[in-house]
Amino acid sequence: MHTDAQKHAAPHGTDIQMTYVEAIVQAQIEEMDRDERVILMGEDVSIYGRGKLFERFGKRRVWNMPISEGGFTGLAIGAAISGLRPIVDLSTASFVYLASDQIINQASKLRFMTGGQIDIPIVFRCFMYSAGSMAAQHADRPYPLFMNVPGLKIISPTSAADIKGLMKSAIRDGDPVLVFEDARLWSLEGDVPTDPDRVIPIGKADVKREGRDVTLVAIAGAIRPTIEAVDALTEEGVSVEVIDPRTLKPLDHEAVKMSVAKTGRLVIVENGHRVCNVGSEIAAVMAEEAFDLLRRPILRLSAPDIHVPFSPALEKGFFPTKDDIAAAVRRLL
């Protein structure tokens, strides 16, 4: 581990080890340094986790909000229309429903409905607890709902480097961007570029493992059991290609097609509920546009159409596991 001082002092153009959650904070520090219009708002943001941001930027840039998700989300949208570039921390993804009227009816629509008279450069952050006995009201993964809304960009990167680079793109973007962080990934460490101008473009997938036999598309926190399964399969001599879309909207369908052109087999893994999720969308587009490339049916692994249970005994097998993923790959061989 490096100290904060080391992280800030590292020369541009080098990489440094940090966790996923540290990379989020670092992205915000760099973008708030770069552009004084960027402000941060949310519940308890001055104290929990991001105390570093409050110390550095103070109360005119980091705003603790009352528990009024709809109200402060709308306030942030009004501020975005009027010269600021807010990052709205909505905390647990289940709380985003409270803000969803403002995100959908105002943020996603107003540029269009005013004929382009206004812009809404705003970032909405939230995190998904997909395991840990949070029970159903703190365990939502609602990104598929928002994928059905035109006008929103949605990212859900899975590595420390990716979240830093994509978060920076989100903050610099001229439109509303939703960031769905998977709390399972927060503690992951990785090499992260220190160069404050290194951004990762929204809308580009990344090949996390190269392979020949099967394409595995892993969404958000599903990347962890996916990589474990791929390690086990590699030992069996199965060559799996892992694609992380990183951006959920717009999806990089070309990257999936390119991989499927090589493998002819596709498995999509995610922790969202099964009906109308990212896997549904990728499978539909592949069926429409890349049917001839497929040698076997597309398989989707996801959470069932049941609410997330509280008891560890019930939650244990609820989300796709390493064994589920490995079994799905073997079925296609």
Partner: protein, 325 residues
């Protein structure tokens, strides 16, 4: 704070512009030149114009689904507004907004929300932005009596008062949320009293009296600009037309014909103000000139709108993104 002579004539001119715009637009609506819903501002002109005239040109504003009067009150051009109602490319929102969403950003309007209460947090955010950026802009937020029962109203007023934001909350209380009266839906029908719950002043004024609306708003604007925080102004007004054109359900009266007629006869804000101006020595000739000028202005707006092309179908996806991916 009183209106000067020029402001008085401008108040009359803008109220009349709203009235004649709505009357002409309703004619175009009945000729099928205007699609969708049509929510008329007729009867509510003084509440709109009195408040707008208390603002500077660079002050900001948000409005409601009953949105036609707000940009006109703030000084917008009528031609692009009429074209918008007709869904034309020359419309202020390029035919993407329509009747409930008449936002003209060139006069400081950041949105007119078709979702009741939806614009209140946006106005609060606009005032928040001015405060953070250290500029002395104030934001005027229009909403109706129905919106007072939305959560956005409470959450917004709390935050605005907490941070002393330069926002003016102006309730156009026309007595009815579509067909449900204030008495039927508000546990506390005296809406101004609600302000006390957020530690801000609340005042009730005669919304049919453009002078009263101007003076109350001008005081509120001065206060907000001085950093003393927001205020809730309840302008009691009356909607002369139905919630939207053609909505009236026969045999299901929610207000009596006598009530409507009494308001039109005794409480018409334009007739009331015309009498005030004459009494204060403005000549009949001056008023006639304004009336003729407004009529001409409306005619030109209709001509522009009718001649403006419909948007090309292949442009349906325009204006979605500042930064397309």
């Amino acid at each position: 704070m009183q209106m000067n002579g020029d402001q008085q004539l401008e108040a009359y001119r803008r109220m009349l512009r709203i009235r004649r715009f709505e009357e002409e637009a309703m004619r175009q609506f009945s000729r099928n030149k205007i699609p969708g819903f049509f929510h008329s501002s007729v009867g509510q002109e003084a509440a709109i114009v009195g408040a707008c005239l208390a603002l500077r040109d660079d002050d900001a504003m948000t409005g409601t689904h009953r949105s036609h009067g707000h940009p006109i009150g703030k000084g917008a051009r009528l031609d692009a507004l009429m074209a918008e109602l007709m869904g034309k490319q020359g419309g202020i929102c390029k035919g993407r907004g329509g009747s409930m969403h008449f936002a003209d950003n060139s006069v400081g309007i950041i949105s007119e929300s078709g979702i009741v209460g939806g614009g209140i947090p946006l106005a609060t955010g606009c005032a928040f932005s001015a405060s953070v950026r250290g500029v002395d802009q104030v934001t005027l937020c229009f909403f109706g009596d129905g919106a007072v029962n939305e959560g956005t109203f409470h959450e917004s007023l709390n935050m605005a008062s907490l941070w002393k934001l330069p926002a003016i909350y102006l309730c156009e209380n026309n007595g009815y949320a579509i067909v449900t009266s204030v008495e039927q839906s508000h546990a506390q029908p005296d809406i101004a009293l609600r302000a006390a719950g957020y530690g801000m002043p609340g005042v009730t004024i005669d919304g049919q009296d453009v002078t009263a609306v101007f003076e109350a708003t001008a005081q509120a604007v001065a206060r907000a600009r001085a950093g003393e925080g927001p205020i809730l102004i309840v302008a009691n007004t009356y909607r002369f037309d139905e919630h939207n054109y053609g909505l009236l359900v026969p045999g299901q009266p929610y207000r009596s014909v006598a009530e409507i007629e009494a308001h039109k006869r005794d409480r018409d804000p334009i007739l009331l103000y015309r009498a005030v101006l004459l009494e204060e020595g403005v000549s009949e000739k001056t008023l006639r000139e304004i009336e003729e000028e407004v009529t001409e202005h409306i005619k030109k707006a209709v001509k522009f709108a009718l001649n403006s092309p419909m948007p090309e179908t292949e442009t349906f996806s325009d204006y979605m993104f500042n930064t397309p991916i």
